[in-house]
Symmetry: C3
Subunit: 136 residues, 3 copies
């Protein structure tokens, strides 16, 4: 059995955003056992799981990953969409465009401290689309 | 329902290659709703989704990720297979060995600009094997 | 059909550990065709596939990724859980919290050199939980 839904996120500013509740609000009643796949339909945004309690973790993600994958690196040729564009593509592949989460007893079976991070890598990314697929 | 196929890619040179059409040509008729998993059976290659229009994005991937994960780093002990080997293993885990893509209305439900990149991290990687699994 | 099992790993020291056999020992009889998802319920550990033969690859992972994502970077604000904590969160999202592996003819269909690496990013991570989900 597959249940699928495409959703449009509100505009998020550049950075890492905890969207666990947005995902939960858009899921159907969950099966006893299964998996949820969350897929980002973009090449300059990403999705990952990380610490859900302290917002400074998300700030540190933004600041550190901007150092690891900087703007204006001299090797970049693809620069005509702005300084934030090519780093956004690289971050998208390093962080990833989807996550898969087990469903157990009708709930997402994440650890206590895990939450879903939506990662907006562009300065003005606009409204981003996700596809949620539950299979059981 | 699971449909699975193992394919062998032609030799790709080191770098990032758009293989969306190779994948599509090897898929069975797709279900109304489901997921596709593409899996690379190697530890020095990878697979990711990224920008499908401008080939300079792929060139920038090759050049930037070679800086982020360089050859001949002094910490490497595993060097007997050549300078390109240990960086290839690291890149494989940073980029990933599989992607999962939703299927909707009988088509891969990627964003307009998303394509499948096969990532060859070795200088002479040879013929690489992928496993395509469609489930619905 | 979904079969799911949650397991608790023994304490692993910080680093990269080949756990293919631990996974195999905890799987049910595998279907003819399907997929296995291995999910880590933590935000400071990870899971990936990489080279299963030479243990120096795992040593190089530890040493190189510690350089790529160092302790005590001046941008970190989230420092109160120790120098190893914020880098562990970053590594978890760069390496990933789950892997998906095809099942073919009742076996994990990995390449000859692929093994499952459990990645412990904390100095004292304790006993870590994994969820194994087989679907067919």
């Amino acid at each position: 059995m597959v249940h699928q839904k495409e959703i449009v996120l509100k505009n998020y500013r550049r950075g890492y955003h905890l969207i666990t509740n947005v995902i939960l609000e858009n899921l159907p009643p969950l099966p006893d056992q299964g998996l949820l796949n969350i897929f980002v339909k973009h090449t300059s945004a990403g999705i990952t799981l990380n610490e859900n309690a302290d917002p400074t973790v998300r700030t540190d993600f933004e600041n550190f990953i901007n150092k690891m994958i900087p703007e204006d690196d001299p090797v970049y040729i693809h620069t005509y969409e702005g300084s934030d564009d090519m780093p956004a593509h690289l971050k998208s592949s390093v962080i990833g465009a989807s996550v898969t989460i087990p469903i157990t007893n009708g709930r997402l079976n994440m650890g206590t401290w895990q939450g879903v991070y939506f990662c907006e890598f562009r300065n003005y990314g606009g409204q981003r689309k996700l596809v949620l697929t539950v299979y059981s």
